[in-house]
């Protein structure tokens, strides 16, 4: 803190931040870097909203009979918490913020393939968000983020229509972003940047984009059908009118399972970048990690039935989905082994991004392993619908994806803002987040195993101790999240000015000034070395 001085208003070099002033230059921009910042502000806003719902839930759950709200309200809280966090924070987070900012820089291009489509993506996202906010203010929906029929389509009296429209609209934002990235990576790589010289972050963004493009339209059509049913009272998914509720679930989970890979793959890409930089070593097994990313994307589409083991689908379908679910764990595990092999004999330092990346590896592994319990049919019968599932996906989504996101923000902050943040505070925040996270969610594994159901506003008294522990942890976690908000905003004005390559790291994005000029590169760069050329004399095997 003592080194940070009030930076005088120096005549700053022209960059994308000061290239133009006024709200019009931001809201009508086609510069991918500015659009990334637009997304950064909006998703942070939704993170606060979704997080507030979580805080209210955890306060409510300190008492077995509920301490805060009516059960009907509790149902609305967990529904909106899920919808906001998944569709308006996690899915866009790394792709729309870090991806938008970095993909053109990493491929050495001036912008994405379709800059105006990129801006349209953001506006579509905002419209979807407005519908969701409206539904929250107008009373909320209580169906769970999974919208299971026929409750959501026929029987619920809450704001299901509004929030379903919000999610439907936001899906198109996701599709267009994915489309933009695929085309950019195929068609706009700089001379010399072959596929196998690309940073692994680009590979993971590419795999994510494939999922976004192929899966999200199915979510769109199933929500469209849900809205038809709700508005016109037809019976597509309602048994009383001849429909099958399981058809809704098939179509819904066909997207929503790959959606979780949309949320985790970019974080894995970030972790690859950070691990390489802070071990000063090439990622061990580059090609295998690249192929694993694509394998996760493809295999992820084959496992959706594991959300439906206890809903009445055919036993044979369940068998196949169970087997495929075990299969999809393999590429993820391969990546974890590759990261740890990279760390071995590396020259490791513990700056804030590295702490997030290391935390990711541990927590993601735990979350992933618990997924295996759930992939086995027999144990899933016991664990389904309990807090075990809640803990499982929070370990991956929060312990994994959010930590990957924060790690990425901290790693590329100097490039994005041109400023450095105080490393001590950042490391402290990372530690607080790690501790708070585990305190919040580890008790939930135990609660689930002992039988506490999820989505319940009350519980048997013997579970109170674990619930209180979880809520206490949530408080710590919340504090941990607030700290970066403070020092990152502080750094934009008072942080030390960052050079082009502060860490230093490899990759084209570090070869341009911090912050970059609007056109990214003065001349088109030419790539002559492999990715992660940290120690040229290193004879690391591939």
């Amino acid at each position: 803190m003592s080194t940070a001085t009030l930076e005088p208003r120096v005549r700053a070099r022209k960059n994308y931040l000061n290239a133009d002033y006024g709200w019009r230059s931001w809201l009508f921009t086609v510069d991918h870097k500015r659009i990334a910042l637009l997304y950064l502000v909006s998703i942070t806003f939704f993170f606060v909203i979704g997080g507030s719902f979580a805080v209210l839930m955890r306060i409510h759950l300190v008492e077995p009979q509920g301490a805060l709200v009516q059960p009907e309200t509790y149902n609305k809280l967990f529904t909106l918490h899920g919808i906001v966090m998944i569709f308006f924070f996690l899915i866009p987070s790394i792709p729309a913020v870090l991806g938008n900012f970095l993909v053109p820089l990493m491929v050495g291009a001036r912008d994405l393939a379709f800059p105006r489509l990129n801006l349209l993506s953001w506006y579509i996202y905002v419209v979807g968000g407005l519908f969701t906010l409206y539904s929250a203010i107008a009373g909320g929906a209580d169906t769970g983020w999974t919208f299971y029929t026929p409750y959501s389509s026929t029987y619920s009296n809450t704001q299901v229509t509004a929030v379903a429209i919000g999610v439907f609209v936001s899906g198109f934002s996701s599709i267009l972003t994915g489309l933009n990235f695929i085309v950019t990576i195929h068609k706009m790589r700089a001379p010399g940047l072959t596929w196998f010289r690309m940073p692994l972050f680009l590979w993971s963004i590419y795999a994510t984009s494939i999922i976004q493009v192929l899966g999200t339209p199915v979510l769109a059509i199933v929500l469209f059908a849900l809205l038809l049913e709700r508005v016109f009272h037809v019976g597509i998914f309602t048994p009383a009118l001849g429909g099958d509720p399981l058809l809704f679930q098939h179509l819904f989970w066909f997207y929503s399972h790959p959606a979780v890979y949309i949320m985790i793959l970019p974080a894995m890409g970030v972790v690859s970048e950070i691990i390489a930089c802070f071990s000063r070593k090439r990622i061990f097994g580059y090609k295998i990690v690249a192929f694993s990313s694509v394998a996760i994307a493809v295999l992820g589409f084959l496992v959706w039935g594991h959300h439906m083991f206890v809903t009445g689908q055919s036993v044979y379908a369940g068998l196949i989905f169970s087997m495929l679910s075990f299969l999809v764990a393999i590429p993820s595990a391969i990546k974890v082994f590759n990261w740890t092999s990279t760390l071995y004999k590396g020259s490791i330092s513990y700056e804030a991004p590295m702490l997030y990346a290391l935390g990711f590896i541990g927590l993601f592994t735990m979350g992933g392993l618990t997924g295996l319990f759930l992939a086995a049919l027999a144990t899933d019968v016991h664990l389904n619908g309990t807090y075990f599932i809640v803990a499982h996906f929070h370990y991956i989504m929060v312990g994994g994806a959010v930590m990957g996101y924060l790690g990425g923000i901290h790693f590329w902050w100097p490039k994005i803002s041109g400023r450095k943040y105080p490393n001590g505070w950042a490391q402290l925040a990372a530690a607080i987040i790690f501790i708070g996270f585990n305190l919040t969610f580890f008790p939930q594994f135990m609660l689930g195993y002992l039988g506490m159901p999820r989505r319940y506003a009350f519980y048997p008294a013997e579970f109170q101790v674990l619930n209180v522990m979880s809520s206490a942890g949530a408080t710590v976690l919340g504090v941990g999240y607030l700290i970066p908000l403070v020092y990152l905003i502080w750094s934009m004005r008072y942080g030390p000015v960052a050079e082009s390559n502060p860490w230093p790291a490899t990759g084209l994005e570090w070869k341009t000034p911090s912050p970059p000029p609007t056109e990214n590169f003065a001349e088109t760069p030419v790539v002559t070395e492999e990715a992660y050329a940290y120690a040229p004399e290193e004879a690391a095997g591939d």
Binding site: V218, H250, L302, Q313, A317
Partner: protein, 97 residues
């Protein structure tokens, strides 16, 4: 040219609908539709002359759709198959519809 082929196939498919082929009516109709689609894809949309990546993209799209339909339909079709009886001397499983 291609257009005449498409018109011919449309006439064919409509005419076939008036002949009784049992369950094959659907198969034939879909097969004809598939041929029409191929004609449009290859010639009107230029896929015959396009690079490998465009073709990969299109094939991937249809493959994914096949995944969706196949696995979902698989659930419905196998629901009535009962699980294996848990004793060797148990009664035979009911026949499939």
């Amino acid at each position: 040219m291609v257009f005449l082929g498409l018109i011919g196939l449309t006439a064919l498919t409509t005419g076939v609908a008036f002949i009784d082929l049992g369950p094959f009516n659907t198969v034939v109709a879909l097969a004809i539709a598939f041929c029409k689609m191929l004609l449009v894809l290859l010639f009107f949309m230029g896929l015959k002359y396009s690079s490998g990546i465009m073709r990969t993209v299109v094939i991937a799209g249809f493959f994914w759709l096949a995944l969706l339909m196949g696995l979902t339909m698989g659930d419905y079709r196998t629901r009535s198959w009962s699980p294996a009886p848990d004793s060797w001397s148990a009664t035979a499983p009911p026949t499939h519809p």
